[in-house]
Amino acid sequence: MAYPSNYLYSKDHEWVRVEDDTCVLGITEYAQEELGEIVFVDLPDVGDTFDKADEVGTIESVKAVAEVYTPVSGEVIEVNSALEEEPELVNDEPHGGGWLIKMRLSSKDDLGELMSAEKYEEFISSGDA
C-alpha cells in the first residue's frame, strides 16, 4: 500500500493530515498490520486537550492493546464515531475511513519533527521500527 504523500508520519506509526489549523490523525498501514484484527477502539472526548506525545486512546486487537500517541499538541474537535460499530475500518482503511480523531493544532512547530511518506517507508523497511 502506498503511503499518501500529503501525510506526515511519526515513529510510533501515527499519521497526520494537516488542513489549515486542524489535522486528522490515524495509525498507519504498518501499525494495523502489526496489531492484527482490531476489535475495539477507545477514543478521547471532543474538547479534550493534549500535548505532543500524550496518550490519546488505545486500539485493541485480539492479541494486543496499543496506545495511540498524538505527535502534535491540540484540542480534539471530532472523533470517528463509525469505529464504535466497525472497529475493523482501522484495518481496512487505515489511511482513510479508519481515521481516529480531528484536532485543532495549538502550534505547527511539532510538525517539523515528523517524517515524509518517503522517509517513513524507509524507516519501516530499515528494521528499526
Binding site: 477507545d42 486487537s61 492479541k63 494486543a64 492493546v65
Partner: protein
C-alpha cells in the same frame, strides 16, 4: 528418615506419584548422554542441599487417612457436632451430592485454564452458563467468570469504578458493609490515591440516608452499600443509587449472602451499576473460609473495565457455536503493568459447583429455598421476645440473619452456649464498638428444625441464670 517404599534402588527411590522407575531413568540418561541426574543440577553449585528436607512422609493412603482423620476429630463442626447459627459472610446450606461427583470428573478437575478453546469447550461452556446465571440473579447485563472471593472482589469493583470515572478521587461506602471487605479495600488502597469515606447506620440498622447524601458530590467515584447488610438488614439500593447518580457517581451493590438475590429485588433493578460479592452459598462447603467464589456483574457499557476473565460465544471455522475466553487483552498476561488487575485465576471449579447448584435448584427451587430461609429467620425474630434479655437489635426486615441485642455480656453468652454445644452467633463488638452488646444469628435450611427451639431454650436458661457481677470472667 528411612523410606519404607519397597522400590528403593541403589541410586534413589521411586514413588507411586512419579512415573519414572529405575529402567526409565537409565534409558533416559543414556538418551541424553549424561551419566547421572546430578549433572543436570550442576548450575545450582553449592546451593544443592546435602540432605533432603525434613518434612513428614512418605505416607501411604492409609497413613494419610489416619493423620488427617485425627485432625478431623479434633474439630467440632456445625451439623456433626454442634448446632450453629454462624453467618457473617459464610453460610451453611445443604449441598446436593451430585455436585461433588461431577466436580471429581477428571475432565473438570484436572484441566487447565481454557486458553485452547478447541479442547476446552466443557469448561468454557460451564463458565458461560455461570456468567449467565449471575447476570440473571444480579439483574445486570454482564458477569465475569468469577473472582477469588467477596472481599477482594469488592476491592476490584471499587478499582473498576475508579478506572471508569478517571478523574474522581472519593469512595463513599457504608460501614454496614462486611468489615473484612472494608479492611481488604484499605489494604489495597494504601498505595492508591483514594479518599475513602464511611457512612454509619440509622436506628433501623440501614445506611444513614442523610449522611450518605451529604457525603456524595462531584468528586465521588462510587457509592457502595451492602444488602442484606452485615447486620442482616435488607436495606436495598434504590436510595443509594439515586444519590449516586445525581452526582455522576457509580452505584455498587454488595451481596455476601448470594441466595438473597433469588427473592429480593436485584442490584440491577435497584439502580446498581456494579454488583459484587460472595457466592459461597451456592454449593460450596464452609471449608474454614475458602476456597470461596467472588462474583462481579455490571452494565454492558462498562464491560471492558471489568477485571477477571470473560467467556464469550462465537463460531468455529465450520460455523459451529463455540465459546472462547475473550476481551483478554485487558488482563495481565498481555497488558502487563496496564492490566485492569493482576488476577490470573478465576475460581473455575467453584464456579462450576455454583452453576450445577443453581441448575439443580433452578427457577422455582432457588426461590423456594430463599423463602424457607426467610421464614426461619422470621420465626427466630418472632420467638426472640419470648426470651428475656434478648431482642432483635433492629426493626428492619431481614433475610436469613439478624443482629440480636443481649442484656448480658455477649462473650459470656456465646461462651456458655458453646459449652452447651451451640455456636449461637458472631459477636459484633470487635468490629463495631457501638454494638458490643449484639451478635449476629443466621439460620438457614441446613439447621435442623429443632435447632431454633434449642437456641431459645439455651438462651432462656441463660437469662434465668443469676446475673454475675461485671468483674466476673466467663
Amino acid at each position: 528418615m528411612a523410606t519404607r517404599d519397597p522400590f528403593r534402588d541403589a541410586a534413589g527411590v521411586t514413588h507411586r506419584l512419579l512415573s519414572t522407575g529405575e529402567l526409565d531413568r537409565r534409558e533416559m540418561l543414556e538418551a541424553i548422554g549424561v551419566d547421572s541426574v546430578d549433572r543436570l543440577f550442576e548450575s545450582l553449585g553449592d546451593l544443592l542441599l546435602e540432605r533432603p528436607p525434613d518434612v513428614p512422609g512418605p505416607l501411604s493412603d492409609g497413613e494419610l487417612r489416619d493423620y488427617f482423620g485425627r485432625l478431623d476429630r479434633m474439630n467440632a463442626v456445625p451439623g456433626r457436632d454442634l448446632v450453629s447459627f454462624l453467618g457473617a459472610g459464610a453460610y451453611r446450606h445443604e449441598t446436593p451430592s451430585v455436585i461433588d461427583h461431577l466436580l471429581l470428573r477428571g475432565e473438570f478437575l484436572t484441566v487447565y485454564t481454557p486458553y485452547q478453546p478447541e479442547i476446552s469447550q466443557g469448561t468454557l461452556q460451564a463458565i458461560f452458563e455461570f456468567q449467565t446465571l449471575i447476570s440473571m440473579l444480579t439483574g445486570l447485563d454482564v458477569a465475569n467468570a468469577s473472582l477469588y472471593e467477596g472481599a477482594s472482589g469488592f476491592t476490584e469493583a471499587v478499582l473498576m469504578a475508579d478506572r471508569i470515572q478517571k478523574k474522581r478521587k472519593k469512595v463513599v461506602m457504608s460501614r454496614a458493609i462486611h468489615p473484612q471487605y472494608r479492611e481488604v479495600l484499605a489494604s489495597y488502597a494504601k498505595n492508591l490515591d483514594l479518599e475513602i469515606v464511611e457512612i454509619g447506620w440509622d436506628e433501623r440498622g440501614a445506611t444513614d440516608r442523610e449522611a450518605l447524601a451529604a457525603a456524595v458530590d462531584g468528586e465521588t467515584i462510587c457509592v457502595a452499600v451492602q444488602s442484606p447488610n452485615y447486620f442482616g438488614v435488607v436495606e436495598g439500593w434504590d436510595t443509594a443509587s439515586e444519590i449516586a447518580h445525581e452526582h455522576g457517581a457509580l452505584s455498587i451493590g454488595v451481596v455476601t449472602e448470594a441466595l438473597s438475590m433469588a427473592l429480593l429485588k436485584s442490584p440491577g433493578d435497584s439502580g446498581c451499576d456494579i454488583a459484587v460479592g460472595e457466592a459461597q452459598s451456592f454449593g460450596l462447603s464452609l471449608a474454614f473460609g475458602g476456597p470461596y467464589l467472588g462474583f462481579l456483574a455490571t452494565r454492558d457499557k462498562y464491560k471492558r473495565a471489568m477485571p477477571g476473565r470473560l467467556v464469550g460465544e462465537t463460531v468455529d471455522a465450520q460455523g459451529k457455536r463455540a465459546w472462547v475466553l475473550t476481551l483478554s487483552t485487558r488482563e495481565q498476561h498481555i497488558r502487563r503493568e496496564k492490566a485492569t488487575s493482576n488476577i490470573c485465576t478465576n475460581q473455575a471449579l467453584c464456579a462450576l459447583a455454583a452453576t450445577i447448584y443453581l441448575s439443580l435448584y433452578g427457577k422455582k427451587g432457588l426461590r423456594r429455598l430463599a423463602e424457607i430461609n426467610l421464614q426461619r429467620a422470621g420465626a427466630l425474630r418472632r420467638k426472640l421476645p419470648g426470651v428475656a434479655g434478648f431482642t432483635p437489635a433492629f426493626d428492619a426486615p431481614s433475610f436469613n440473619e439478624l443482629a440480636v441485642r443481649s442484656e448480658q455480656p455477649v462473650a459470656r453468652v456465646l461462651g456458655d452456649l458453646e459449652k452447651a454445644g451451640i455456636l449461637a452467633g458472631v459477636p459484633l463488638g470487635p468490629d463495631y464498638p457501638e454494638l458490643e452488646d449484639c451478635f449476629l444469628v443466621a439460620v438457614t435450611e441446613a439447621n435442623a428444625a429443632s435447632d431454633l427451639d434449642r437456641l431459645m431454650e439455651a438462651l432462656a436458661d441463660r437469662s434465668a441464670a443469676v446475673p454475675e457481677d461485671a468483674s466476673a470472667t466467663a
